[in-house]
């Protein structure tokens, strides 16, 4: 079991109100991702759940039990840190065994569990090494191993992959998702990489300045962002925002259209633009265009489209995928 409930949780550092007030429900077995720009309070929120930071107000419940004032160890959660936070003076085996040793488990039982975890994480050959003799990906796996042996009611991850290179990040992402399917334990995962957020999450929590902007499944957030912030934050490349006459003609203050929802053609369309930069990624091409009467627009097209700097391109926005926002930046539905 591992459901987590936050009730009006707030956090103040000195004068700074980092988290004004947050209500959030995390269900048992869910993979929840916190995303948001740097400094928005993702780590702080995670540390409040972990108990590494005291709340300034509100309540935290785990499985319905009030743990607001419980010590980290009493909450039954495990955490994986961005810096791995392995014990440098202990071997991999001792690192993974540490939480079990603290739980006063018998040595023979500890050995069994450590070896089982090492097998799952492909660490069997490295058990006697020190963390300093491991690669980044291996270190991260040790940190995960140390977390899983305890069979916690939930895992907390704080940007666990951000120190790894892109390729390894891809593999580890899959491994963590896989682990979640095997263990079916609640996972709370902090990241500012939206590919991680979109691909791993059951539920994404978008944070901005310590407030929740929106909670929903990845596709929910993609299809119907509640406001400008979420619309701009979820999706890559970013949604295009268009103010002025075009938006007014659709009775909105701002209109939003994603780069992938623009039909492109070389000879006819609603808008006419000049290619400023073309980013050829192979399968896809991102065109950064200057559109007459609209302004700068990013469009995503097939890699075969073949547009280069200086070319003229016509675009037709897919009106059914158009997002509209009012004066306050909130989405207009219907």
């Amino acid at each position: 079991m591992g459901s987590i409930t936050l009730r009006q949780v707030s956090k103040v550092f000195g004068e700074a109100k980092v988290i004004p007030s947050i209500d959030l429900e995390i269900n048992d077995g869910e993979f929840v991702v916190f995303v948001g720009p740097s400094g928005c309070g993702k780590s702080t929120l995670l540390r409040l759940i972990a108990g590494l930071e005291d709340v300034s107000g509100g309540q935290i419940l785990i499985d319905g039990k009030d743990v607001t004032h419980a010590a980290p160890a009493e909450r039954g959660l495990a955490m994986v840190f961005q810096s791995y936070a392995l014990y440098p003076h202990m071997s991999v085996r001792k690192n993974i065994a540490f939480p079990l040793k603290m739980a006063k488990m018998e040595q023979s039982a500890i050995d069994k569990k450590v070896e089982a975890a090492a097998r799952v994480l492909n660490l069997t050959d490295y058990l006697e090494r020190r963390p300093s003799q491991l690669s980044g990906g291996q270190r991260q796996r040790v940190a995960i191993g140390r977390a899983i042996v305890r069979e916690p009611s939930a895992f907390l991850f704080d940007e666990p992959l951000s120190n790894l290179d892109a390729a390894l990040r891809g593999t580890m992402r899959l491994e963590i998702s896989d682990l979640h399917h095997q263990l079916k334990t609640t996972m709370v995962y902090v990241t500012h990489d939206q590919v991680e957020a979109m691909t791993m999450a059951d539920k994404i929590v978008v944070l901005n300045r310590g407030n929740i902007e929106q909670v929903g499944s990845p596709l929910d957030l993609y299809k119907s962002p509640r406001n400008l912030f979420v619309a701009g934050f979820i999706g890559s490349p970013k949604m295009n925002f268009i103010d002025g006459a075009y938006a007014q003609s659709r009775s909105a203050r701002t209109a939003g259209i994603r780069p992938e929802h623009l039909g492109l053609s070389k000879d006819s369309g609603t808008w006419r633009g000049t290619v400023k930069v073309a980013e050829h990624l192979g399968a896809d091409t991102f065109l950064h265009l200057d559109v007459d009467g609209i302004g700068p627009i990013t469009a995503r097209c097939d890699g075969e489209f073949g547009a280069y700097h200086g070319d003229t391109v016509y675009m037709t926005p897919d009106e059914s995928k158009l997002h509209r926002f009012d004066d306050k930046g909130l989405a207009i539905r219907g």
Partner: protein, 274 residues
């Protein structure tokens, strides 16, 4: 970019380093040389060639027993260092891992006590020692040495502890370690290099401390510093004997320093070079 080091640069640098090292080491070397001269030779003027007599060492040992001040030095240096560490480890730990607004001020205040000239408090301290019956006692001197080195010990440990990433301690907390387990299994093993070099440096400082040890002791608790000083007596200067006594006094600490060199350097540059 690799730096272009020519052989000539290397030779110049090496020669220069040797010259500087020799200048720094020269007083000790000259003490050594003088200790194997006869008294007339010693006052005759500058000379690097002694007659090579060991008479001074014999005289020094027969006139005044070396063993007793040596033992006093050991007790004072080791005792005061252990006492200082017992007080300083928890305080540095608290200051490094749960600092308050005043932590920096307290550290500065502690350091500022080292800036005060010792002579300024000589009289009050002497009187306190006299009234408490601590003059010429090992306990009194141990406490005194502990107190005068405490600021440095706290500062050093504080700097080392600050180098330990907080996330590792937080990880231990998440893993279910209580305060003591955190200190015993995680913090201390990681802090050992820092604690070791603090310990060594403090032993050296305490061993060499001369101002208070000479003034607050006479015979019973007198360490090697007082032993050396007793050879510069009013009856005249016995330079050769003084040198022999000095050599005997610094030899133990020099040997300790030599063997712990690596640890000392590692400790003192901890954090600067990872």
């Amino acid at each position: 970019m690799a730096r272009n080091v020519t052989t000539r640069h290397k030779v110049t640098a090496t020669v220069f380093a040797w010259i500087v090292a020799l200048i720094i080491f020269f007083p000790i070397l000259y003490t050594l040389i003088t200790s194997v001269k006869t008294e007339p030779e010693a006052i005759a003027g500058f000379s690097l060639i002694p007659s090579g007599t060991f008479e001074n060492y014999v005289t020094v040992q027969t006139q005044r027993d070396y063993f007793k001040p040596f033992m006093n030095s050991v007790v004072l240096a080791v005792g005061s260092t252990i006492l200082a560490l017992i007080i300083a480890i928890p305080s540095a730990w608290a200051m490094a891992f749960s600092p308050t607004k005043r932590t920096k001020d307290i550290l500065m205040w502690m350091l500022s006590t080292k800036m005060m000239p010792a002579v300024a408090v000589l009289v009050p301290i002497y009187l306190m020692f006299r009234d408490f019956g601590l003059l010429d006692t090992r306990i009194g001197l141990t406490v005194m040495l502990t107190l005068i080195n405490l600021p440095i010990v706290v500062w050093m440990l504080y700097t080392y502890f600050r180098e330990i990433p907080g996330e590792i301690l937080e990880a231990a907390r998440m893993d279910g370690a209580g305060l003591w387990q955190e200190i015993v299994y995680v913090l201390t093993p990681m802090a050992v290099p820092g604690i070791a070099s603090t310990l060594l440096l403090n032993i050296i400082l305490a061993w060499n401390e001369a101002f208070w040890t000479i003034r607050l002791s006479t015979t019973n608790a007198a360490p090697l510093t007082a032993f050396i000083a007793s050879f510069s007596s009013p009856q005249g200067l016995f330079w050769a004997k003084l040198s022999a006594a000095s050599t005997m006094a610094i030899a133990p600490i020099l040997i300790l320093g030599w063997f712990s060199q690596k640890q000392l350097v590692r400790g003192l540059t901890f954090g600067a070079v990872k």
